[in-house]
């Protein structure tokens, strides 16, 4: 057993290099301009991982400045050039560029494209029982628009005047005038162009996800039998489809204001020594448009992670997810409410206070379905039989971040309390936990869980464990202290606090946070090594390594184009039949007909079993 295993490993390692030999697809068609959803998912994943390294790296540079004000960064001069001055000190304007690009990259390129792009693409056809996406070509375009957008954003990092530097929200007028900040010159232009391509990519993907889920489910896969992952991806795609176009509108008007002399967002401005002719526009209009996307975007980032977690927690607790219908209901409620809470980002923007009250009510309503989700996760663990795979650990970590970060939202959604907390480090702590770290953990959990399906090999478990514990502890050490700094009123996006009496404290805590951030970032290289090494040299994966019920584990270990070699299996039950009383095994795959499991059927299932029509190819398929 052992020796053959190792030999198998060697064989397949070399086998991978000559893949194109026995497939009709050429290298370019298979790996580059692929229309296969699995390959596109991997393209999204690897691009997302590269972006995560860049986005995380940028944060380390500005954390160095915050933790050690005026630190000598001469060693970065080869990369950053003029942005490091003669004494080796980071330029304050480039500090803002770093903050801006960190936010843009993490929110859009890592947690939207990297998370949704990867797992929606990978899992939707596999879990609903489809050969591929509704349109493989659109799917391919979706990736290549994303790639183009990535290239443009990446190049903008190296412009002489710097990348966009007005914060990831790029509020005008700051983002309009290069006289206001040099990043608002060519850097901002490239930011806008890149984002338009990015949104095109998201929409192409979203249309595909939605039509695939609606039209291409296999026989028996009703909506009430969909795994929660698919529900999450489906709802996410709908949110994206409704909200991203608004960002295009916002960006387009910004382009007009910047380049064609219109006054959508500009009024009564004196800059660069002259009074501009623009009258009648409103910078607040941009904020409304931006946050109409911006707030749903939070859920675009978070819902897929929650869907992935639902699946992993149920599988590894060996229990059905608690409150399947409540989980779907709360996701629908969150999706709906996410469109009518945006102005809570604008309580102190000069918004009419009455609108502020309305949005405070709506915002705190959205906390209810979120709370339901958290309680349901915890109850799923209750009386489970928990297997701590790395994916499970990351999922539990996600639930912890979701609670910690979600609770601070109750402060910020309350407009009276937001007056003092707005734009302080309290906000930074809040969204880094609930949206940043939680979604990032969802991404990692998904990679650990579905890596065997993606690459036919296992990730190294022990490295996964070390990676989890370093990251989990690290994330708390980085973001928890920021609450204290925020309660003390420290404003975000400050290059240094040294000139303030009120903010003279916490120097040591900032140093501590920076050290923790560097260590946490360093721990991710363990994952990178594990990931890339295991693609080629990991242990061969069994067909269903986690004893899971969902359809993707009925495909061959390395599913080819079309996913199932024979007919697509039909589905006879919901995806959470774990530890069903009476059943021999502690899981019953979705492909097992109810009529075959009379010993474990619930009363209403017994009824259903009588009228069940079993299609034959299914059983043949299972032997694969």
């Amino acid at each position: 057993m052992s020796i053959t295993d190792i030999q198998l490993e060697e064989n397949t390692a070399s086998h991978d290099d000559h893949h194109d030999d026995h497939h009709e697809q050429g290298f370019i068609e298979k790996y580059i301009f692929s229309t296969d959803h699995k390959m596109i998912a991997k393209q999204f994943l690897i691009t997302g991982i590269l972006w995560a390294v860049i986005g995380g790296g940028l944060s380390i540079i500005f954390r160095l400045q915050l933790g050690f004000p005026g630190i000598d960064l001469t060693f970065l001069k080869p990369i950053l050039g003029q942005w490091i001055d003669a004494e080796g000190v980071l330029d304050p304007e480039f500090y803002l560029a770093l903050v801006t690009m960190h936010g843009t990259i993490m929110v859009f390129f890592v947690l939207t494209a990297g998370l949704s792009g990867t797992f929606s693409n990978f899992l939707i056809p596999l879990q609903i029982g489809a050969r591929d996406m509704a349109s493989g070509f659109m799917n391919m375009l979706s990736y290549w628009f994303f790639f183009l957008s990535s290239v443009i954003m990446f190049i903008s990092l190296f412009l002489e005047t710097g990348p966009a530097a007005g914060g990831w929200t790029v509020y005008p007028p700051l983002s309009v005038f290069k006289e206001a900040i040099s990043g608002s010159g060519a850097g901002m232009t490239m930011w806008l162009v890149s984002m338009v391509f990015f949104i095109a990519s998201t929409l192409l993907g979203g249309v595909n996800y939605i039509s695939t889920v609606i039209n291409m489910r296999t026989k028996g896969m009703s909506f009430s039998r969909l795994p929660l992952t698919i529900w999450a991806f489906f709802i996410t795609a709908v949110i994206g489809l409704l909200s991203f176009p608004v960002l295009v509108a916002a960006a387009l008007l910004l382009v007009f204001d910047r380049s064609f002399g219109t006054s959508f967002y500009l009024s009564e401005i004196f800059i660069g020594g002259e009074a501009l002719p623009n009258i009648g526009g409103s910078p607040i209009l941009y904020q409304h448009l931006f946050w109409f996307l911006g707030h749903p975007e939070v859920y675009i980032v978070l819902l897929p992670a929650l869907g992935i977690t639902s699946e992993i927690i149920a599988t590894n607790s060996r229990k059905p997810i608690f409150g399947y219908r409540a989980m779907i209901g709360s996701m629908l409620a969150i999706a709906f409410l996410s469109f009518i809470v945006w102005a809570h980002h604008m309580f102190v923007s000069g918004l009419n206070p009455f609108l502020g009250s309305v949005f405070m009510f709506l915002t705190l309503i959205i906390a209810v379905p979120s709370a339901v989700k958290a309680f349901n996760y915890i109850t799923t663990l209750w009386r489970g039989n928990i297997v701590f795979t790395p994916a499970m650990l990351f999922s539990i970590g996600l639930v912890s971040f979701f609670i910690s970060g979600g609770l601070t939202g109750i402060f910020l959604g309350n407009s009276a309390l937001d007056i003092n907390l707005h734009d302080t480090y309290f906000v930074v702590a809040h969204f880094h936990l609930v949206m940043g770290s939680a979604s990032f953990f969802g991404l990692l959990a998904g990679v650990y869980h579905w890596f065997p399906k993606m690459f036919g090999r296992m990730l190294d478990e022990r490295m996964g464990y070390i990676h989890f514990w370093l990251t989990f502890v690290g994330v708390y050490l980085v973001f928890f202290p920021l609450h204290y700094i925020g309660i003390a009123g420290f404003p975000r996006r400050y290059y240094a606090f040294t000139s303030y009496d009120a903010f003279s404290t916490f120097g040591d805590l900032n140093t501590f946070v920076s050290v923790a951030a560097i260590l946490t970032f360093g721990a991710q290289f363990l994952f990178l090594y594990n990931f890339f090494n295991s693609i080629f040299r990991g242990r061969r994966a069994p067909q269903n390594p986690w004893n899971s019920t969902t359809l993707e584990w009925t495909t061959p270990v390395n599913p080819g184009h079309g996913n199932w070699p024979g007919a697509i299996p039909a589905v006879y039950r919901w995806p959470y039949d774990y530890s069903k009383p009476g059943s021999e095994s502690d899981f019953i795959p979705q492909t097992v007909p109810l009529s075959q499991t009379p010993e474990s059927n619930l009363p209403h299932e017994q009824e259903l079993a009588k009228s069940e029509v079993v299609s034959e190819p299914t059983k043949a398929d299972e032997s694969h």
Binding site: P173, A180, I365, V368, V399, D423, D501
Partner: protein, 360 residues
């Protein structure tokens, strides 16, 4: 040389760690451990969660109560700040309770229900009663917090009292100016097209007679115990007036005048005693990203006792008096009034005023 040694050492350590991993992987494959679905370290992780819970909560309580040198909260110096802080700490109590209980459950269940091959998980797909309870309870608690927040919010953002002192706050890259209404108690008009680099930084519109006696300060002087209404605007990009000790914040938006009113309850002198810091000063800081020197955009706030404030107010000279050249911008029919209200008659050389204005 030293760096080289470090690099070599790091490389060697990585190589050793890598070798260990590779060897143990091969050993575990050889032992056939991989065929087991439950990882051998299952118990370790369950235990680590409990340790993390204890260490985490311990650290949290230690740091929050006493681990810090001083209170990390900014002292409160405004009337509404007492209320918002009270509800801040009520919310903190509620959320901390939920935070602790849910984490005890999350990590506690993880430990208690770790895998045991002799046990079977219980098939427990839903319980409508439970779900109803934890939908309703958060809804009620949140409704309570929202209603209290709403009441405070409407008070804070409601109209300022009649007797409030009006002060204009003007934000620009990178600093603040404050314009006071002068003796007539009325702020004059402004027009951004009147802004120039030779003296009229705020774009004061001298066609309005109320503007003639307005004066400008680079510090924000406000009286203790009296409501103050800030009328806020910006010159170039969005800034934000943030005064942490007064629990006050409002954006300064070009083209969209905003306002915020509050009542300071402690003077600078009071605060110097309270904090034991003889150099204490209130600061107004910018809290909306505005460019290169965003982090240095601040102004000093001086809270005086009412008498001191009134004395200071009286001693200030009108902007027009300090910039008599601008008299030429005053319409002919208002010139005389302007000279009186700006107290320009004190300047004996009226002639020179005429001369310099003719140079425009």
């Amino acid at each position: 040389m030293f760096n080289l040694v470090i690099i070599v050492a790091v490389v060697l350590i990585i190589a050793i760690v890598y070798t260990i991993f590779r060897v143990t992987t091969l050993i575990s494959i050889a032992k056939g451990e991989s065929s087991n679905n439950v990882p051998s370290s299952n118990k370790t992780h369950a235990t680590l969660f409990i340790l993390f819970l204890i260490a985490g909560l311990g650290g949290f309580f230690y740091y929050s109560f006493g681990g810090l040198d001083d209170s990390f909260v900014q002292p409160i110096a405004s009337k509404h700040g007492v209320e918002t802080d009270f509800w801040f700490w009520v919310t903190m109590g509620v959320t901390c309770f939920v935070f602790i209980v849910t984490h005890i459950l999350l990590f506690g269940f993880s430990y208690k229900y770790q895998h045991d091959k002799d046990r079977c998980a219980s098939f427990y797909p839903h319980n409508n009663k439970l779900e109803l309870i934890w939908t309703a309870v958060p809804a009620v608690v949140l409704a309570f917090l929202v209603l209290t927040g709403w009441k405070i919010w409407t008070d804070i953002t409601g109209p300022a009292p009649e007797e409030a002192y009006e002060i204009e706050v003007f934000g620009y890259q990178y600093g603040w100016s404050f314009r006071y209404p002068g003796k007539d108690g009325k702020l004059g008009d402004y027009d951004y097209r009147k802004i120039d680099k030779t003296g009229n930084d705020l774009g004061i519109d001298l066609k309005d007679r109320a503007s003639h006696d307005d004066f400008i300060s680079n510090q924000l002087h406000i009286p203790k115990g009296k409501p103050v209404l800030l009328k806020i605007r910006a010159r170039d990009v969005i800034h934000s007036v943030y005064m942490p000790q007064f629990r006050a914040q409002m954006n300064a938006v070009p083209g969209l005048p905003t306002k915020f009113w509050f009542e300071p309850t402690k003077s600078t002198a009071d605060m110097r005693i309270e904090t034991g810091n003889p150099d204490f000063n209130f600061e107004l800081v910018c809290n909306k990203i505005c460019g290169r020197s965003h982090f240095g955009m601040k102004a000093t706030i001086v809270v005086d006792e009412l008498d001191e404030f009134k004395d200071w107010y009286k001693d200030q000279e009108a902007w027009l008096k300090l910039n008599p050249d601008y008299l030429s911008q005053v319409p002919e029919n208002l010139k005389e009034v302007a000279i009186i209200s700006a107290e320009l008659e004190n300047i004996d050389n009226n002639q020179s005023v005429g001369n310099s204005s003719s140079s425009f």
